[in-house]
């Protein structure tokens, strides 16, 4: 267990944090992931990569956690992608607020948070965890094509939102 903790503590926590957007909640989810790993250690069948299995657990727990939020969320916002889970408004600053603060990290975070949940998950797994499409498909329990679509749409959305500000930032620097 110590070895698993040492190797996956950081990625699992960061994955949870990027999806939950709350440090305490992310830590709780990440701890539950390792608890689940410990409880299921006897039933684990090494059919695929271990990282895929552990991220699959994290994905399920995050979905459960976000689904539970539905009870106190005032009104849900539906996603355009079929089969995608509902999305919730972030308490974090909007892209405009982030830009006003000139903080690139905050800007990226804000833009990603506005993505639908599954697009966000696929993008996070690809960009921040260097996971291949097939592994992402296993984690999200989707087809390879659906994963490609999710990533493509996520990048398109981010291009529209982020690139104008990036080019504007570059222009400002050149000036």
């Amino acid at each position: 267990m110590d070895e698993i903790l040492r190797r996956y503590r950081r990625p699992v926590y960061q994955y949870s944090h990027r999806l939950c957007r709350n440090a305490a909640e992310a830590e709780d989810v990440a701890q539950d992931v390792f608890l689940r790993v410990h409880l299921c250690r006897s039933t684990y069948v090494p059919s695929g990569r271990f990282s895929t299995w552990i991220f699959g657990i994290a994905h399920n727990l995050v979905m459960d956690r976000l689904r539970r939020r539905r009870w106190w969320a005032p009104w849900p916002k539906t996603d355009s992608d079929p089969g995608q889970d509902v999305e919730f408004r972030s308490p974090d600053p909007s892209p405009q607020d982030a830009v006003a603060g000139r903080e690139m990290s905050g800007l990226v975070q804000a833009c990603i948070q506005e993505l639908p949940l599954l697009q966000r998950e696929a993008l996070v797994l690809r960009e921040y965890h260097d996971m291949g499409y097939e592994d992402i498909a296993n984690v999200l329990q989707m087809s390879l094509g659906a994963v490609k679509t999710l990533i493509h749409r996520a990048r398109c959305a981010l291009k529209e939102k982020l690139l104008p500000y990036i080019e504007e930032g570059k222009g400002a620097c050149h000036e």
Partner: protein, 492 residues
Amino acid sequence: MNERHIIDQLNAYLDNELSEKEKAAVEEHVGRCSDCAQELARLKTLSETLRNWNAPEPSAHFDQAVRDKILSRELETRRVAMKMPSRRILIPSGLLAGLVLLVFINSYLARGLQGRMPIGVLRESTDDIGEQFAPGYSGQDDAKESAKYGRTEAQKVSRDQYEPYYYQASLEAPQAGGVSENVQTYNGVARDRAVLMDGGRVDASHVIRDKPATLAFMVAGTQAHGAVRSSVVSGKRAANATTASKTIVQELPGEGPVIVIQPVLPATGEGEKIIRTAQVQLEVEDGKEAYKKLNEICAAAGGYLASSNLVRDNDGRTSGHITMRIPQAKFTEVLDTLRDFGKVKNIATDSADVSQEYKNVKARLDAAMVVYNKMLEALQQRKNTIDQAARLESELTPVLAKIEALKNQLESLDNQVSYTTIAVYFFEPRVSLKVLEHTKQTIRESAITASINFVKFLARILPATVAWAVVILVLVIGGLLVKGWIIRIFKK
């Protein structure tokens, strides 16, 4: 961008998801197509930009928190496992407990039907009595008592707090010396036999009978030896002792030994006057019927009722008592009949020898008659003067009155001797077939009434329930429709 652009493949190329051949084709196309090259550059820029979002590191106590959670869960799992015994233990335990409960209830009900006290208590009591009373009433002790005082005073036997019966007997033993010799010669049961075989008589006997335990107490005495015999028989010793003293021992299935003492009539000699009394407690199934039959028994024996009463208590049980006067010759016969009549809970006989008193009264009457006859004779003589005649007549009157009084007394004694007194107390048991039947009937009626009331209640509340159900259903459907409508609006 025209249709030859490979925008769709640029993401895969960037993510290194293409084969070598596809990769080469993309690179060749990007080299020729400026739009695709520009798009690839934008994607790369985007990817580099995204790397700016640095998520925080987990806290320092993250590992410890995970370990604590694992430990806590394991403890909880073990605790739950300990709390929930497996079916292999639970089912046999439940069955065993149910069986024990069933046996206990059966036993309790059975005992409740037979007697008032649970078997355990009574057995204990019986043993205690056997231990405590038997030595106290042994022949030797009584013999010493008799030798010392020449008379056995009233004795009282009380079982214990659970058994309210008691016994008192008062016996005379004019010659106590003989007792000591006899007692030393004989012991135990043989002693009683000897006394009785020597032509003695039972002056008083007492039997207390209760199920499942039996305690019999008998006092035997004889005028011939001037002896007083006492024996307490209880439990197993009852059979021997009572058999020796001409008792009948009946074995009733499941009830333990039942001791019924055959009262021995006094070996009355010529001119002996014995007043005999008996008290009988009977447990009967039907009090009214018992009252009727007791009257018939009394009439059949040529006796008469001295007093009687019949009471019905709040539980519907009938009890009462009858005091009957029975000719002396029928005394034993009636007692036998009563013994077969119901369950004998207690039967006691007693006797009082009034021979001496009778003789005294008779002698005084004879003397008074002599005086009366002499005075009458003197009065009838014509030699008397008027004054003498008046004086004799005035003296004759009290003598006459005395004679009448003595005659009455004699007649009273004759009556008491010739008619024995038997007091019969009868009662129905607390749990009898009759009461059970009555209870069953009551329960059945209550169940029927409750069922009818329940159906009525359902019929009464059914319209309101249906109405409320319809209202709630309409509200739920309306709520769902409104929710769907709002969601559709939001989607649009």
